[in-house]
Symmetry: C2
Subunit: 127 residues, 2 copies
DNA sequence: ATAAATGCAAACGCTTTGCGAGTGC
DNA sequence: GCACTCGCAAAGCGTTTGCATTTAT
């Protein structure tokens, strides 16, 4: 029996709650503080890093300088709003043949990809 | 007649030389130092920022925490090697219809996108 | 006693800004 | 004199690490 780890457990539960599709460290930290009363940023960081190492999480970079993390289950792409920074997920984008194209064009063996659309979210577009 | 600006000119010439398809600030800085004997990092930064503001350059983020810049001419995607970090360009990727898909799936108005493949470059793959 | 999780503080890497000095016009 | 570029130094910002403490086994 491992010793209890409230912070790591809290982080895990946030991902499992599916409240968001992706979490920044800051969001995880805030949420952990709410949930536990207090939690250290570095503890959250370490919990996330461990989960990433275990292959439970994927780290995504949408280009705003902040790392985001999400559950490894289904691969999908992202849209980020140029105006407010909101990030939504785009399900079901298949790029299987694009990878073959890349391989023949560059010689790189493609193991993964990340497609980031940017534009305006519905709220910002109407404003 | 504007007054001369050696650093900005050097930066501009680097992009025009097409020695690389994308430049990090560090690479631009090193190259500017070689070319001019000396140049300040912030001057390079400002030159690049200005060119970006003028629409001459696009800033790309491949997920390694460093900003890269490239000429705005032809839009293309990128492959980054997971092992050595090398970045190559993938010409001719068209994602026009994907943008329509995103719009109907998320409501976001897509204005641009960035697709980053990652994997192994030929050198790393053979090692 | 041992190993692990946490908190605290500081280091780090890269980007960005404030400001004063130099210099063509 | 003015406006602009540059260099220097420092601030920011997010991530990462070192270290000492606590605590369950």
């Amino acid at each position: 029996m491992p010793r209890p780890s409230p912070v790591a457990d809290a982080v895990r539960s946030m991902f499992e709650s599916r409240t968001r599709h992706s979490w920044s460290l800051q969001e995880l930290h805030e949420s952990a503080c709410q949930q536990l009363g207090n939690a250290d940023y570095s503890s959250v960081f370490r919990a996330v890093t461990a989960m990433e190492r275990e292959g439970l999480l994927a780290r995504i970079e949408v280009g705003d300088g902040k790392s985001r993390y999400e559950l490894m289950d289904s691969h999908h792409e992202h849209v980020r709003c140029d105006s407010c920074g909101r990030v939504a997920e785009v399900p079901g984008c298949s790029l299987a043949d694009a990878e073959a194209t890349v391989r023949s064009a560059t010689g790189f063996v493609v193991t993964s990809h990340q497609l980031i659309f940017s534009g305006l979210c519905p709220e910002c577009a109407s404003a």
